[in-house]
């Protein structure tokens, strides 16, 4: 059977199930797949983590290098976030420059990290206007089974929380020291399947989705970022209800990101 026809049948099936309040893998609408966090997965990075949400896997690696602050923010370090949807992780990802999908993941994750003031960028300043740390957050999707945004942010956070600033190596201080992570924003992604709105979509659910909504919340009870994606629509009431659910998941996921393990 051609992949296109197969996908079409699965889409219909996913929507039929959703109408009965069911999901293909038996989860409830507010149930994440099993999440595991393995900090320190890559020893050559200054901080790293492998995060799995079900069969989805993302490795995040942090690298810190001395550089020059931006002229308009002389007292702050620089944070750069990049997600790579590498061809090894899905038959639909192609080599070459980043596609809009990868750019969207990068930017939505970056928005949450930045708006939540995850890292105090002023503490990455070495000499105002002259020298500051550039903090690179690189996320590699290595297995794409859906919900890349949530997995990528969790990986980035877990990696940042286990990062050592290589101050000694770059002769900026006598000793290396841990990077201070002051806030843990959590992104929760939902998709609409008919009248149902379910959390943590799989690839099949993303393909069947009639709109996707990601909500980032912090521990202070604030919404820090949102992104509606894919074709489809949400009413303002849908949005408010989804935000409420995102706050509930956020508390749980935050502990997983902080602690590592499950």
């Amino acid at each position: 059977m051609s992949e296109e026809i197969d996908a079409e049948i699965r889409t219909t099936h996913v929507l039929d199930l959703a109408a009965e309040g069911k999901r293909l893998d038996g989860r409830g609408p507010d149930e994440y797949r099993k999440i595991t966090v393995e900090p320190g997965f890559v020893a050559t990075a200054d901080g790293s983590a492998l995060v799995r949400i079900g069969d989805t896997a993302v490795v995040a690696g942090i690298k810190l290098e001395p550089g020059k602050p931006f002229p308009d923010t002389p007292n702050a370090g620089v944070l750069t976030t990049n997600a790579e949807l590498i061809p090894l992780s899905s038959p639909t990802f192609e080599p070459g420059p980043p596609q809009p999908g990868a750019i969207e993941v990068s930017r939505v994750v970056d928005r949450a990290i930045r708006a939540a003031e995850t890292i105090d960028l002023t503490r990455l300043c070495v000499a105002p206007g002259e020298k500051s740390w550039i903090c690179y957050v690189d996320m590699h999707v290595i297995d794409h089974a859906g919900n890349l945004i949530d997995a990528s942010l969790l990986a980035a956070l877990a990696a940042l929380a286990h990062t050592t600033v290589p101050a000694k190596r770059f002769e900026i201080a006598e000793l290396d020291y841990p990077l201070d992570v002051q806030h843990f924003p959590i992104e929760c992604t939902f998709v609409r399947l008919g009248d149902a709105i379910v959390v943590d979509p799989t690839v099949d659910e993303e393909r069947a989705a009639q709109g996707r909504l990601t909500v980032a919340t912090d521990e202070a009870g604030r919404i820090v970022a949102m992104q509606k994606g894919l074709v489809g629509a949400f009413s303002p009431d849908d949005v408010k209800e989804t935000v409420r659910r995102a706050f509930q998941h956020g508390a749980e996921l935050r502990e997983i990101a902080k602690g590592g393990g499950q």
Binding site: T122, K228, G229, A233, F234, K240
Partner: protein, 250 residues
Amino acid sequence: MGNIGAKEIPVLLSPEGLRIDGRRLDELRPLKIQAGALHRADGSAFVEWGANKVLAAVYGPREVHPRHLQQNHKAVIQCRYNMAAFSVDERKRPGLDRRSQEISKVIAEAFESVVFAEEFPRTSIDVYIEVLQANAGTRCAGLVAASVALADAGIPMVDLLPAVAVGKVGGAIALDLKKEEDNFGEADLPMALVPQSGRLVLLQMEGHLTEPELAQALDLGVKGCREIYERMKQALRDRYAVGPMTGASA
């Protein structure tokens, strides 16, 4: 967060509740929409919104380029949102940066949610948005222009797509931020509404909002969109309405 060394924050809200340009919190900037502004395009529009100047053109339905994007059961909607190098204070490097590519994606998805794409299988509907002068809210101005351009091109749609950004300035929720408010504001929330269904097909947010503030912002945004919707319809009437005496001759 400590002082990052950026410029000093101006006073964005007066004690009387007026904004830096004298607007009330629920007031739009002046908005001018011209349907059919270009000659070669199948549909076009020019929008002047506050200090924004944005052009949109629609080509198609036509052959799909690149070919592999072609869909057998519907038209693909391709969108290119681009900012001119001279559209901002410091020259922007020409071409699509990551921000523009993200905006192009969410705008294309918004239109795909309302266009009857099944009527034009194996074709492409190409939407081009060019920001000539930018002053915050360019993606919304681009959406409004492109939506009118799609109508101007005769593309069947569920509805027009009015769009506006709501933000938080000086602690208050405000409609349609201008540049200073956007730069120094506490939150930015662009949205696009399908007036018929009351649903949102574009929604993004960055900053800090509590749940009650979000509810207030969604409310204000939907009201703003409905106001813009009327202007969009008027722009199309201005271009196409036929007066009683100038209609088809008897």
